[in-house]
């Protein structure tokens, strides 16, 4: 028997070491200023969108900067943040420029994962909105440049609503529907056999999309305190919003078990009456066979309209050995209006550069013919009146992670009050090591 234990023991030892080796240590040391590196070569750029999205901006940049090439690498959204944490903490010089989710700027900067761009502060102040300017700062320094902005729309299936004899919502923000109206109309559409489900959100477990529910009821962002490290997800607003949200799944108004990027096709296939999605959907749904329209994001009766905002910024990896070229590309894709516009020519997202935005917004109405009529006015209205950024906190990454799991559990039928209480405990635990 002893002899045959040998291969097994070897397997155990190898596996044990594999597990042990999986975590390399990170460091919070601020990076030293590096020289700007070579003037020509290949800049690597990493983000979550498919390669097609960045082809126009890369092409325009390469035409303007002979000798510099840009190689884009896509990491799927679900794995992006974790993969970047891993690679940046290993000081991987294989990434020069990368996309930064705006609420994560503080923690990425605190961990030394972003190059200080404060010398561009003056330009950023004039070229972007005050909200975009603010969210890219941490400890009075500028760490990333805003590339895009976003909002959310209520998409509706015209055919299904007609079958249910429901007059669809209009695109006028002054006549915005309440969630209660959407729920009632969605049920009618299900009963009349028009659709399988009444309402579905594109990112059903993402804070970005669910924050407006709680904020509409005055529940706050979920984070409070001077250092923005005190959980506040058990306010009345949060409780009410999550009770309602859980009930939409329990009653079958929304489907369980479909997540990630499988949600859009449920609307495009005609299986849901109302769908909450972003500006990117204005073009994506254009190729679907169903007849649809857009309306402003609903709010709760007695509450106030609140819409999500913010999107990806671009930052530079301090470990990059090509700081000069990386910066050239970064500035072109954000500060240069033409470059910033080029980032939005295949994926329909709102450019963050105000000059680019002025040229872009009027075109939104025609992204998918008559179906997208009103999208431009909704976007302009929301950015001025209802947009609320995600909270700026050095603990945002933990917050998003904990809340994402809480939303998933509430969606799957866990009591929302107890789950929010649990989330408070998990946040307190997770933030303990930051303090």
């Amino acid at each position: 028997m002893r002899r045959n234990l040998l291969p097994a023991a070897a397997v155990v030892a190898a596996a044990a070491m594999l597990v042990a080796g999986c975590g390399s240590s990170g460091s919070s040391d601020q990076p030293a200023a590096t020289d700007s590196g070579p003037a020509t070569g290949t800049v690597t750029f990493t983000g979550t969108d498919n390669a097609e999205t960045y082809q126009p901006v890369i092409k325009a940049f390469e035409a303007k900067n002979p000798g510099i090439k840009v190689a884009y690498t896509q990491i799927p959204f679900d794995q992006f943040n974790a993969t970047m944490q891993q690679r940046l903490s290993a000081k991987d010089a294989g990434i020069d420029v990368y996309t930064v989710d705006e609420p994560r700027v503080s923690q990425l900067a605190a961990k030394g994962f972003l190059t200080d761009l404060s010398d561009l502060d003056g330009q950023v102040k004039t070229k972007f909105s005050a909200a975009a300017y603010k969210t890219n700062h941490f400890r009075d320094k500028l760490w990333s440049l805003p590339m895009w902005n976003s909002t959310q729309f209520l998409f509706y299936n015209k055919t299904a609503l007609a079958k249910a004899k429901v007059t669809p919502p209009t695109a006028d923000p002054q006549q915005r529907w309440t969630w209660e109206q959407v729920e009632a109309a969605g049920r009618k559409a299900m009963q009349s056999g028009g659709t399988k489900y009444g309402l579905f959100m594109e990112q059903p477990e993402a804070y970005y999309q669910l924050q407006p529910l709680a904020e509409s009821l005055g529940g706050g962002s979920g984070i409070e305190g001077d250092d923005a490290l005190t959980p506040a997800v058990e306010t009345d607003g949060w409780k009410k919003a999550m009770q309602w949200y859980g009930a939409t799944f329990a009653s079958g108004l929304s489907p369980r078990g479909i997540g990630g990027f499988q949600t859009g096709p449920v609307f495009a296939n005609g299986n849901v009456a109302f769908f909450v999605g972003g500006p990117w959907d204005l073009k994506i749904f254009g190729s679907s066979k169903i007849d649809w329209g857009v309306a402003p994001l609903p709010y709760f009766q007695g509450g106030k309209p609140v819409t999500p905002t913010g999107s990806w910024s671009l930052g530079i990896n301090p470990a990059s050995k090509q700081q000069g070229m990386a910066r050239k590309f970064l500035e072109f894709a954000t500060l240069d209006a033409a470059g910033n516009l080029a980032t939005t020519s295949t994926t329909t997202i709102i450019p963050a550069n105000l000059d680019a935005q002025k040229q872009y917004t009027p075109k939104m109405d025609a992204f998918s013919g008559a179906k997208t009529a009103g999208a431009a006015a909704i976007t302009a209205y929301e950015s001025e009146h209802t947009a609320v950024s995600r909270p700026v906190s050095v603990g945002y990454i933990q917050f998003e992670e904990v809340m994402g799991k809480a939303f998933a559990d509430i969606r799957n039928g866990t009591n929302s009050d107890t789950r929010l209480q649990e989330a408070t405990r998990q946040l307190t635990d997770a933030w303990k090591s930051i303090r």
């Binding site: 045959n4 070491m17 891993q86 961990k111 050095v394 303990k432």
Partner: protein, 287 residues
């Protein structure tokens, strides 16, 4: 003198492998243990020695304790199922029966599929309007929640992982069974032993070596399950599929607390060694 020269030559040949082992495995392992005794504060900055602080934090953490419980339950369920099914399939596919080679290929095919791809395939099968519920509907049975229900999530993962793993472990057992001398089998047949008797009293004792290997290697690989959890359940609902390996990943790269994650890695390795040591003891006791 000659012996010493031979030793040096052998060492020279082994050097690249030993060097890789040291750099890629041993050094990170030591670093994991060392780092698990430190902590780092984003607000205050700097690395501080925390002693056993990360370990006590983990042990007092409800989510971690639940994760250990889920992992142990999963280990107790998945390993016997996979080993027994692999063995039965191996016995079946070593019979001289029509089409057994074709069936064998079909069972082995999932090995060639990366775990992430298998998980994506099964995410479609387990969807509320997916293939599995389609089949249940045809049979007149009610639709099941699979991955979104606390009671069904672990069994659903076990089915998926067995689909991936059983064919692989079966290969080792087929090799073992084929090494059983033909005379022994024929002698049993002449003595009038039935199929069941031949399997239990002749084949089983003679494939103990590959069987022991499969049991241990399967246990280790199941303790390291990660991709299906990340892609399909994210540890939910309510942490009921939050296996330790996924919890380590969450703490290290999603929550970003690398030091606590290293402590959890050390605990996971210790747990793995304890379980495997227990298995060796059981196997030895049998002899």
């Amino acid at each position: 003198m000659r012996k010493r020269g031979q030793g040096l030559i052998a060492l020279a040949f082994l050097a690249p492998a030993l060097l890789c082992l040291a750099v890629l495995r041993i050094v990170p392992a030591i670093s994991a243990v060392v780092e698990s005794f430190y902590t780092e504060s984003l607000l205050r900055g700097g690395r501080v020695f925390a002693g056993l602080g990360n370990y006590t934090d983990l042990l007092s953490n409800k989510d971690f304790r639940q994760s250990v419980g889920v992992t142990l339950l999963f280990t107790v369920l998945v390993n016997p199922i996979q080993v027994v099914v692999s063995f039965l399939l191996a016995v079946l596919f070593t019979q001289r029966a029509a089409g057994s080679k074709l069936w064998r290929t079909l069972v082995i095919l999932p090995i060639a599929t990366p775990p992430a791809v298998s998980a994506v395939i099964w995410s479609v099968i387990y969807r509320p309007d997916g293939l599995a519920n389609g089949v249940l509907e045809r049979l007149g049975l009610p639709a099941q929640p699979f991955l979104t229900s606390s009671g069904q999530v672990l069994p659903s993962l076990i089915v998926l992982l067995s689909w991936i793993g059983v064919g692989y472990w079966m290969l080792f057992l087929i090799a073992g069974i084929q090494e059983v001398p033909v005379e022994v089998r024929e002698a049993a047949l002449l003595d009038g032993a039935g199929a069941w008797r031949r399997m239990v009293s002749v084949i089983l004792p003679l494939v103990r070596r590959p069987l022991a290997f499969v049991l241990v290697a399967d246990t280790v690989s199941n303790l390291l399950v990660f991709a299906p959890v990340q892609i399909l359940t994210k540890g939910g609902p309510n942490g009921d599929s939050n296996l330790l390996m996924y919890d380590v990943y969450t703490r290290a790269y999603a929550i970003g607390d690398i030091h606590v994650a290293q402590a959890e890695v050390v605990i996971l390795v210790a747990l793995t060694l304890a379980i495997v040591a227990g298995q060796f003891r059981l196997l030895r006791g049998d002899q």
